[in-house]
């Protein structure tokens, strides 16, 4: 767990440094961070000092963890997740990322069907019939709900011309 803790705290520290640079030093995104006389803080004051405070807090978490890590060694570190747990999470996260990345081309309806069929079949070990049925029925249902009932147009990808005939 120590490594994960150190990683997380470093993440917050890095994020606050990035924000401090963004608000204060990078020419295109720089904001005034001062205190205007008679008016109070300027636009960048609030985010700038918040980021400074966040940096301080993340260092408070980080430094003792690193010191103890150096003293006791990280070798006998307890695992952050079990191997099975990690595999299970990766099996869910990777297709999720693929789903999002391919969204502009596949759209929500085709993408959802593929994602559901994959997940039910590969992770859930359900039968092909159930997987295909769930995938299809789900997409048809959300199509009817979003496009017909709620009149919200979701991304449809390359099958847009085909789907539009049903509207």
């Amino acid at each position: 767990m120590k490594k994960a803790e150190i990683f997380m705290a470093s993440f917050w520290a890095a994020l606050s440094v990035a924000i401090i640079l963004e608000v204060r030093f990078i020419p295109f995104t720089r904001q005034p961070v001062g205190w205007e006389k008679g008016l109070g803080p300027e636009a960048g004051w609030f985010p700038y000092w918040l980021a400074v405070l966040m940096l301080v807090c993340s260092l408070i978490v980080l430094i003792p963890k690193v010191l103890r890590g150096v003293k006791e060694g990280l070798a006998e570190d307890q695992a952050f997740v079990s191997v099975e747990g990690f595999i299970a999470v990766m099996r869910a996260v990777l297709p999720m990322v693929i789903y999002v990345v391919t969204l502009p081309w596949l759209g929500f309806y085709l993408g959802s069907t593929l994602y559901l069929v994959y997940y039910l079949r590969a992770v859930g070990k359900h039968s092909w019939t159930l997987s295909l049925l769930t995938g299809t029925i789900f997409s048809v249902t959300i199509f009817l709900i979003f496009e017909n009932a709620l009149k919200l147009t979701l991304a449809k990808g390359f099958i847009e011309p085909i789907l539009n005939q049903f509207l």
Binding site: Q31, A43, P47, Y115
Partner: protein, 504 residues
């Protein structure tokens, strides 16, 4: 008194329309589903289903949300009793006596007495709401920007003291939330802030992407990792059990009522939601009970205590939200964000400007409680079948709904990616004990916090002394210092004691 009566009649007017009752019933069904599923609670249900309400008028939206909320809180008890896994965090304390009862073959009695205790807790706290909220709102009407800023700080401090193990981590999450709220156009100057020069961030980070990411995708990932495998104890359900449970409720009526009152006031405090309330109620009732040794071995009193208090606390959490504009629990924080999207300004003026909404909410509270009760009690065997739904079907469906929610914010990819990022971040935060609720609270209250802060300073001509010269704001700020200091002090004491023990 008279305005309360006229308010209630207005609320009855709003609630008892065919469409609103239908919406309420739909909310009960969906809420019950979320409550039953282990790992997902009404909090996740509200987060995932909130976008549905944007096509409804605010009153109907609120009825829908309240229905999910109450039914979810009630449904969680069934899972706790039959599976020994809390269906919702609020029902975690119900496992303590509920599951031993199921093992003894009294599962049906446990479920029925939990349901009835929930109904009593919910109804009593709605009554409490009716009498406490209007005067509180009246009092808060004289608050100006400095007082509201101080109130926000108190809300953050309350979440800080209670939400997590480490105060520093809570503060980091709060600040992160406030920073997220800063992203995009600054309302006062029009400057683009924290966009890193990327136009996609000019619209800002909407609170919904953070909410569905963290409470939808993130929660699902956590549940996947745990891989829930548990034995369901399937109790036989008969009407005799129901009558028996009613007898038990009558026998322990004072316990149920006292815990409802206790839970309500814990709920009213900002930050403390239903989960701490039910554990505290259980602890107190156990230590004051004559047969305190039997608690935890499967006695109905244990189930009644936790269910009555967690339901009452759920309602209590709405009081500061409606009257002061600061939420009493993580769930209320999400509802508060929803109210902003519905075009309402939470705070004391709500009672004057939106009486239909406020009184509709109050009356809906009563109605939805009863609906959830009837639904639960009459369908216990069916509801237990829901528990057998494989998680591998629900997981991808919940994920897809979360991503769609992101998309419909702006009809662009930016928000979908945000949901995914928040989901993965939420999973890591959970694993490393960074509490998520303070972040959500900060994203919701962030704009108001900065706005009231800068407005106060404009009022005072740039002098920060304004927060200390206004008495109410001074008291609130001192209170928040204490709230942050108490857990820090306790941590240091604990560490000293550990060292002493290690030395000895």
């Amino acid at each position: 008194m008279l305005d309360i009566l006229s308010g209630l009649s207005l609320g009855i007017d709003v609630t008892f329309t065919m469409s609103n009752l239908m919406i309420g019933f739909l909310g009960v069904v969906l809420g019950m589903l979320f409550g039953l599923l282990p790992g997902l609670g009404p909090l996740n249900g509200v987060a995932i289903l909130l976008p549905v309400t944007f096509v409804l008028p605010p009153e109907s939206s609120m009825i829908f949300i309240a229905a999910i909320y109450y039914a979810g809180t009630a449904g969680g008890a069934i899972t706790s009793i039959t599976l020994n896994i809390p269906g919702t965090p609020m029902a975690a304390a119900t496992c303590l006596d509920g599951h031993p009862m199921a093992q003894k073959g009294e599962g049906a009695i446990a479920i029925f007495s939990a349901a009835t205790a929930s109904l009593i807790g919910g109804t009593l706290s709605c009554l409490g709401f009716v009498f406490l909220a209007p005067p509180l709102a009246n009092y808060a009407l004289m608050f100006g920007p400095p007082e509201f800023f101080a109130l926000m700080v108190v809300a953050f401090a309350c979440f800080g003291g209670l939400a997590g193990k480490s105060v520093t981590k809570t503060i980091i999450m709060t600040i992160f939330g406030l920073l997220l709220a800063c992203v995009g156009m600054d309302v006062m100057t029009g400057n683009a802030r924290l966009t890193f020069g990327y136009m996609g961030l000019f619209n800002g980070v909407t609170f919904l992407t953070a909410v569905v990411g963290m409470f939808g995708v993130g929660e699902v990932l956590t549940t996947i990792e745990k891989g829930i495998k548990a034995q369901i104890i399937h109790p036989n359900v008969t009407w005799k059990d129901y009558i028996q449970s009613l007898r038990l409720i009558v026998k322990h009526k004072f316990l149920v009522i006292l815990n409802a009152i206790f839970g309500f006031f814990i709920g009213v405090l900002p930050g403390a939601g239903a989960t701490p309330a039910s554990f505290m109620a259980y602890g107190f009732s156990k230590s004051f009970s004559k047969n305190s040794k039997e608690w935890g071995t499967g006695i109905p009193e244990g189930v009644m205590t936790t269910e009555s208090s967690n339901h009452a606390a759920s309602t209590g959490a709405f009081v500061p939200m409606v009257t002061l504009g600061i939420p009493g629990s993580p769930l209320a924080a999400i509802v508060l964000g929803g109210m902003l999207i519905w075009g309402l300004v939470p705070g004391p003026r709500l009672f004057i400007e939106q009486p239909r909404f406020v009184w509709g909410l109050i009356v809906a509270g009563f109605v939805v409680n009863i609906l959830a009760y009837i639904f639960e009690v009459s369908l216990v065997p069916v509801l237990m079948k829901v528990l057998k739904t494989p998680f591998t079907i629900l997981t991808p469906i919940i994920v897809i709904f979360c991503l769609i929610t992101g998309y419909v914010q702006n009809f662009g990819m930016m928000e979908v990616i945000q949901v995914l990022v928040f989901g993965i971040l939420g999973y890591f935060c959970k694993k490393t004990d960074y509490p998520v609720s303070p972040l959500i609270l900060a994203v919701v209250l962030g704009p108001m916090t900065e706005w009231t802060f800068r407005q106060s300073l404009q009022q005072s001509g740039g002098s920060p002394m304004i927060f200390l010269t206004h008495p109410i704001s001074l008291i609130l700020l001192l209170a928040s210092v204490v709230l942050y200091a108490v857990p820090v002090y306790k941590n240091i004491k604990d560490r000293q004691r550990e060292k002493q023990e290690a030395a000895a």
